[in-house]
């Protein structure tokens, strides 16, 4: 019979709608402002006692707590308002001390029965939530240079042990050149180096009566160094971001040499940036003896601004990379200090060197890799960015070795408590393998985020009302069918967003609003076809049937092409624009279902299988 769906089809549609409603439901519950308590240390845990301490501190400060609960990740304290949350953060951080990380967060208030079936609200993008977005570029040329510098000292040792006399070893523009006076030395060295360091490419040249061996990276070695630098930096940045105590941070690779860092809820960008971008590291070196060779020493100044200098050996005992744990505290005179524990290898290396050097001085050198960029005109007269990286080294302390040093010791001579706690953080989180610099930064204040949500929801409501009113006036009863489908379309779209945990952004909301306007298109196509068929004299049942059938291929073609464009948009877009592509493509898919299947089901239910004198279309 025409225009009758079998019972299973109705049931299936009802099932889909029911699922849609359930999974879209969590979006109606507003998030609670909350503080997330966690710990980075293995020795401390967040437990009921921690929560009790926090609750007591809040009570003393007169801040009202909504709820405190334990979660797998630590503890969560919920508040009634954002102001309470902001006021509570320093209170709790002070009460719990340095071993705990206190992070601002928004926690969903999804009822238990919903979260138990995996339903949760859609994630909000930074433009709706507030926060910081950084795009960092890893300075791979610097990483390559660092590797060549290490190779240079290894090669010197190799040449010395083979008793080959070289004049100098220099690294410049990605080429390491060893200079010789004799052609025989050059030939012998070339053989030795090629044998021992096979990951490089070698070439020889003669210039001004001197002989050179040039060493370059092979393509594979270069890629490996670059990949390692990026990977290492990703790990370090993750550690640092975790130390910052941000709930739900994102640290992700983008392209071949970039890293995206997104910190929702962070407002103090200056300190976030200082810690993420810091390239500080430590070196421990012995002070040079009186008889030391000038080529093996280097004179550095103290960081305290006194202008004092000291002559240090170039050889490094250990670097900050060997630090297993570090935290800041104060010494007996109230000056900031950093307590350091070394890992096994670092500890034995330190013990080995200090055992034979009791009575000598050891310096702690603070290194910062920085880059300075300026704009210069290139040959076409266009401004291009020129970036030069350089390192700043300064001595933070020079002390006599009293006894063999072991795994743990402390360093003093730091400027301020802030410096000591940041240095401890950086040592814990690890150093960056290569300098990084910021190529993009976006900060969205929390009030703008809230405003964006309000405006987005407002336009969605007005848009929906206008479209529905229009459809009702133009298509009467059939307009009601289309409006029911349109409402369901939005429910299904929100359910899909939640299920895929896609991120909702402001352009994403605009995408939903746009979808409302476009989603009725399929119904408009079908209804105008039905009107045409009625005008051509077909009886009402036939008109409905052929209206749907004939409009179907058109709808399919039109939607597939739009979907193709949306997918491209997803591929080329970043951040908020991606959010637009997501809602647009999901909206196309759900609108096909609602406009064709759900509308048909309603029409079949109301008009199907009976004689109708007239259709209200």
């Amino acid at each position: 019979m025409l225009n009758k769906y079998p019972l299973w089809k109705y049931l299936l549609i009802l099932l889909v709608i029911a699922c849609g409603v359930i999974y879209a439901l969590p979006n109606l519950y507003p998030d609670d402002p909350a503080l997330q308590l966690s710990t980075q240390k293995t020795t401390t845990v967040v437990d009921q006692r921690t929560l009790a301490t926090a609750e007591q501190a809040l009570e003393d400060a007169g801040i009202e707590l909504k709820q405190a609960e334990m979660t797998p990740a630590g503890g969560t304290l919920r508040f009634h308002s954002g102001e309470d949350q902001l006021a509570a953060k320093p209170v709790i951080a002070a009460a719990l001390g340095e071993n705990y990380v206190v992070a601002l967060n928004l926690v969903p208030t999804t009822p238990e029965w919903l979260s138990s079936i995996g339903a949760g609200p859609a994630k909000l993008g930074l433009d709706l939530r507030g926060g910081v977005h950084f795009l960092l570029e890893v300075d791979t040329p610097a990483a390559l240079k660092q590797r060549l510098d290490v190779a240079a000292s290894e090669m010197k040792t190799a040449l010395r042990s083979e008793r080959i006399r070289y004049r100098s070893v220099e690294v410049e523009d990605g080429v390491l050149s060893v200079r010789f006076l004799q052609a025989e030395d050059q030939a012998a060295a070339s053989e030795v180096l090629e044998d021992q360091f096979s990951e490089y490419l070698y070439s020889t040249r003669e210039e001004g009566g001197e002989y050179f061996v040039d060493v370059r990276f092979t393509e594979a070695a270069r890629n490996e160094v670059e990949a390692y630098a990026l990977q290492q930096n990703l790990t370090t940045l993750r550690n640092r971001v975790n130390e910052l105590g941000v709930a739900e941070p994102l640290v992700q690779r983008q392209g071949s040499n970039r890293i995206v860092v997104e910190l929702p809820g962070v407002q103090d960008t200056a300190s976030a940036k200082r810690i993420i971008g810091a390239t500080a590291n430590l070196e421990f070196r012995l002070e040079a003896g009186m008889d030391a060779n000038a080529g093996d020493t280097e004179t550095l100044t103290f960081r305290d601004g006194s202008g004092r200098t000291a002559r240090l050996e170039r050889d490094v005992i250990i670097t900050g990379d060997s630090v297993a744990d570090a935290n800041s505290s104060f010494d007996e005179n109230g000056r900031p200090q950093v307590n350091i524990s070394l890992d096994g290898r670092g500890g034995s290396q330190m013990a080995r060197v200090t055992r034979t050097s009791v009575g000598r001085n050891m310096a702690v050198v603070f290194i910062e890799h920085k880059s300075r960029s300026r704009f210069v005109e290139d040959e076409n007269g266009e401004l291009v960015e020129e970036r030069r990286s350089y390192s700043e080294r300064g001595i933070i302390s020079l002390a006599t070795i009293q006894t063999t040093l072991g795994n743990s010791f402390r360093i003093t001579g730091l400027d301020s408590p802030r410096e000591s706690s940041e240095l401890a953080l950086l040592l814990r989180a690890g150093a960056l393998a290569a300098p990084i610099y910021f190529v993009e930064e976006r900060t969205i204040g929390p009030s703008l985020g809230a405003e964006n949500i309000r405006l987005g929801v407002l336009s969605a409501q007005i848009g929906l009302l206008i479209v529905m009113a229009f459809m009702l006036v133009y298509y009467k009863v059939f307009g009601i069918f289309a409006n029911v489908s349109l409402a369901l379309n939005i429910v299904l779209l929100m359910a899909c967003m939640s299920l895929l945990s896609a991120t909702l952004t402001l352009p994403g909301i605009a995408g939903i609003v746009l979808t409302m306007g476009m989603a009725v298109d399929a119904n408009v196509l079908i209804f105008s076809r039905i009107r045409e068929e009625l005008k051509a004299g077909l009886p009402s049942q036939q008109a409905i049937h052929s209206g749907f059938n004939r409009a179907f291929t058109t709808i399919l073609d039109a939607n597939i092409t739009t979907l193709l464009v949306a997918v491209i948009l997803f591929a080329v877009g970043t951040g908020p624009v991606k959010g637009f592509a997501v809602t647009l493509s999901l909206g196309i898919l759900t609108s096909m279902f609602t406009a064709i299947v759900v509308t048909r089901a309603q029409i079949n239910l109301v008009y199907g299988g009976r004689k109708n004198k007239r259709l209200f279309i």
Binding site: T269, T443, F470, A510, V513, G517, S528
Partner: protein, 301 residues
Amino acid sequence: MNIPFMSMRKIVAMFSIAMVLVSLGSLAVKGLQFGLDFTGGTLIEVQYGEAPALDDVRALLAEQDYTDVTVQNFGSPTDVVVRMGNAFTPTLGDEVLSTLRDNGNVSVELMRSEFVGGQVGEELREQGGLGMLLALAIVMIYVAVRFQFKFSVASVVALAHDVIITLGIFSLFDFEFDLTVLAALLAVIGYSLNDTIVVCDRIRENFRIMRDTTPTELINESINQTLGRTIITSMTTLFVLLVLFFFGGESIHNFSLALLVGIIIGTYSSIFVAANLLLAQNISREDLIPAPKEELEDEMP
């Protein structure tokens, strides 16, 4: 109702060509007013407790030796946007904010700050252009496979027409072109294509069922048949876009503007341009109804 669209085709074609030429001219001479996403630079949006005098803000920033600075209101008198050119450091945003705050303890709240490096901007520009070309190419292939090559030329030229004129309007009126506008342009391609396909679908269908009409009459008839739908859908879409334009806030102002402009032009082009181009290519029944295949002789004896 039967509007003789195709008898206006010459005038309409001239109009379209003129619009495209003006747009291209403006793009060549004036160029686009690229936003921060594409040029690189720094932007700081702040909200004052009380509406400040913009000249005071400018003077304050000039005192600090910031050059190449523009200060504008953004949406309301209390919202102020400070934009700066290329040659600045990433810490600039924080410095400017503290400069604005320090003066006489004005209450200034940071709404957003953005810094985009010059190279990133350039890459985004390239990527965006590439995405646009890719979208057109894929559409061309899809339409050629699903319909026929002449349809694919007609729809892609119609799309390019829409994109060029929208860009031209942005260039002529100095509207800012940022990433969201690029997204809007791609959405316009999608939407306008949707419209064009509906018309083309009808033309194809009519070629199959109407045997004794000329292509011109047939195309005219098809456009008239789909006209109601074209107008209704465009209207509902324009309604929601107007809502976004007026209520969606400053952040998506240019985005909804680009969609508004693009969809008006897209609707025009699906009625006039695509069909016109089909006629210009001498579309005929034979293009759509494949000649009966010759029976293959069995080669084996």
